[in-house]
């Protein structure tokens, strides 16, 4: 496997990458023509000159910036919360011994297999009892902790911190909290960054739960705002050019984040995989 790859490998990989990029390009093509042109055969293959025009209509029709702010806020809080709780619990599971830790960890892992998103019936009811329906709080609450987060941090910390280090800290008379703070947190930092990034992206792309809890409310996330773009200015008719322009606009923030942090994300996914 040490042979230098030939043209075939580069060719196939390029084809795969082109395939990955094409839908975004297509979205831009359709988002940059008029709505009449968007459904006219033969379909356009190159971008037209109406993207800014369509984008302006997107901004007219939905409160894009407020939806963007909500998405950032909700994803950010979710990421911070997941990282906080997962690091604490993951450290405990990985490095400290306590009665029932095995059972508890097995339980957490097992719940990863249960589609709790199917549990929206009681959730809606519960949130309505709390008068939370249609609020940002209601959107973010379910994303405050994840089983995966704990699992991920535990796997990472298992190897990342030598036991001797913790022992040394103890011998020095450090309290558990201090040990956690001075030994575990610095060691966990790379994993924390990756988990934060990952959680941020996951929450950002959520659709069903925000739709369920927010529809009919003036609070929207980017994903649910997209759903609202299906309204044309005069009549309930889909305008594909508008829809694609909006889709692209809603994707751009995450795309920028990806360009900035893709390297870490790749490393994180691969690291998690080997340990998992």
């Amino acid at each position: 496997m040490s042979r230098r790859p030939g043209f075939l490998v580069y060719g196939l990989l390029s084809a795969f990458v082109l395939g990955s990029t094409f839908p975004l390009y297509w979205s831009f093509v359709i988002g940059s023509v008029t709505k009449e042109r968007a459904i006219q055969s033969p379909l356009p293959l190159y971008p037209g000159g109406y993207f800014l025009d369509n984008a302006r209509r997107v901004f007219d029709q939905i409160d894009f910036w407020s939806a963007l702010a909500n998405s950032v806020l909700i994803s950010g809080i979710s990421a911070a919360s997941v990282v906080f709780f997962s690091t604490l619990a993951g450290y405990s599971f990985a490095k400290l011994r306590f009665r029932g830790s095995n059972v508890a960890m097995a339980f957490v892992v097992a719940t990863m297999a249960v589609p709790t998103q199917l549990a929206f019936v009681p959730l809606l009811k519960t949130f309505s009892n709390l008068d939370l329906t249609g609020t940002r709080t209601a959107v973010v609450l379910p994303f405050l902790v994840t089983a995966f987060g704990v699992f991920f941090m535990r796997q990472y910390l298992l190897d990342a911190i030598p036991d001797e280090l913790i022992e040394a800290a103890r011998v020095d008379g450090c309290s558990q909290l201090r040990t956690f703070w001075t030994v575990a947190v610095p060691a966990a930092r790379p994993a924390m960054a990756i988990l934060a990034l990952f959680t941020f992206m996951q929450t950002w792309t959520e659709f069903m739960w925000p739709l369920l809890i927010l529809q009919g409310s003036d609070v929207q996330t980017l994903q649910t705002a997209l759903d609202q773009l299906k309204i044309a200015p005069a009549g309930g008719i889909a305008d594909i050019a508008l829809l694609q322009a909006g889709t692209l606009l809603a994707t751009i923030p995450l795309l920028l984040l990806f360009i900035a942090t893709g390297r870490q994300l790749v490393a994180g996914i691969m690291q998690g995989a080997v340990k998992g």
Binding site: R99, Q117, V121, Q176
Partner: protein
């Protein structure tokens, strides 16, 4: 984690084991030492309790509550549930032809997404596991679709797979084939939806498998090469067996995701009542739950019953998965 670790007293670090089983600190310690003992004993719990407090209400309570609800009647628009009805709601769901269809649709879409995903991801990972120029760039590139939210992917592919005005059919017609009824034909609709799923997840799984490939000791290949194994033989006899656990991981996560698929078919739907196609061609189990929860009689309890049936199905599939893998593994060892 070993069993012994769990049985050891709380708060002890692996390397040390002064093992006192009793909750009371040994006598003769100073107050400060006692405090330290309590600190070490209970901190581990303190660290996991915040997580579990949230997790129990977020993850566990809704499931339990929906289980409870599934045995009651709850008329539409009623504010509270009515009397107990035994297993009637389960009976309704299990005898509903739409549920049967949704079950097979879900399985179909799952197979059409899991199989190509694993195959393509393995091939691409193998290509990435070569000394490429611009390695990081390639890796990032395959992960790109991951930033496209399911809703966005569904809208983009919805335009590609539109029956009359879509790109896919236009291309097919251009090369002289007839267009495909993406929203009508059951298999075609599954393919379209599976394509959206594959688009988002193949790159991600590629990286996971790539990580597994890189963890294979290079000596194994060298040994195989010395034995005269060709590169293809090496792939089947060294690579595949080595990444089997990772494959299983990929397949299981794909199963869990596949059974929950909702956004893509819902946004793909051309039926005004969101039935997943007029003939329920691509109504999935999650869509069934969603629709049930707001229509007909007893919407909540029936949706809850359907939810629990789906959980049992997933457990069943997971066990099946496990059994098959063990069987395969045993055969491999023989």
């Amino acid at each position: 984690m070993s069993v012994t670790r769990t049985d050891a007293p709380a708060g002890e670090v692996l390397a040390t084991s002064p093992a006192t089983g009793s909750p009371v600190p040994p006598p003769g310690l100073t107050w400060r030492q006692k405090l330290s003992h309590w600190d070490f004993r209970f901190s581990p719990y303190l660290y996991v309790v915040p997580f579990f407090a949230l997790f129990l209400v977020i993850g566990v309570y809704p499931m339990v509550y929906s289980g409870y609800l599934s045995f009651f009647s709850w008329p539409r628009y009623g504010l509270t549930h009515g009397e107990g009805v035994g297993f009637a709601n389960y009976g309704h769901v299990l005898t509903d032809p739409v549920f049967h269809k949704a079950f097979w649709n879900t399985i179909g879409i799952f197979v059409l997404s899991a199989v190509p995903q694993v195959v393509v991801a393995t091939v691409v990972a193998a290509m990435l596991d070569t000394p490429l120029r611009g390695r990081t760039w390639w890796r990032m590139s395959v992960l790109l679709p991951f930033v496209v939210a399911p809703a966005a992917a569904a809208l983009i592919f919805g335009s590609i797979f539109a029956d009359k005005t879509g790109l896919a059919n236009e291309v097919l017609r251009a090369v002289g084939l007839s267009g495909v009824a993406w929203h009508t034909d059951r298999f075609a609709s599954w393919t379209a939806i599976a394509t959206m799923v594959n688009y988002r997840w193949t790159g991600y799984n590629t990286l996971i498998i790539l990580a597994a490939l890189q963890a294979i000791p290079r000596q194994l290949y060298e040994a195989a090469a010395i034995d005269g194994a060709s590169r293809v033989q090496q792939f089947f006899h060294v690579t595949l067996p080595s990444i089997r656990p990772t494959m299983l991981f990929v397949i299981i996560t794909a199963t869990i995701g596949g059974m929950q698929i909702f956004t893509e078919p819902r946004l793909f739907d051309t039926n005004l009542q969101f039935q997943g196609g007029a003939d329920y061609q691509y109504q999935t189990l999650t869509m069934y739950v969603f629709n049930t929860s707001n229509s007909g009689t007893d919407p909540y309890p029936r949706a809850a019953a359907a939810t629990w049936i789906i959980v049992l199905i997933i457990i069943g599939i997971a066990l099946l998965n496990y059994a098959i893998t063990r069987q395969v593994q045993r055969r491999g060892e023989r």
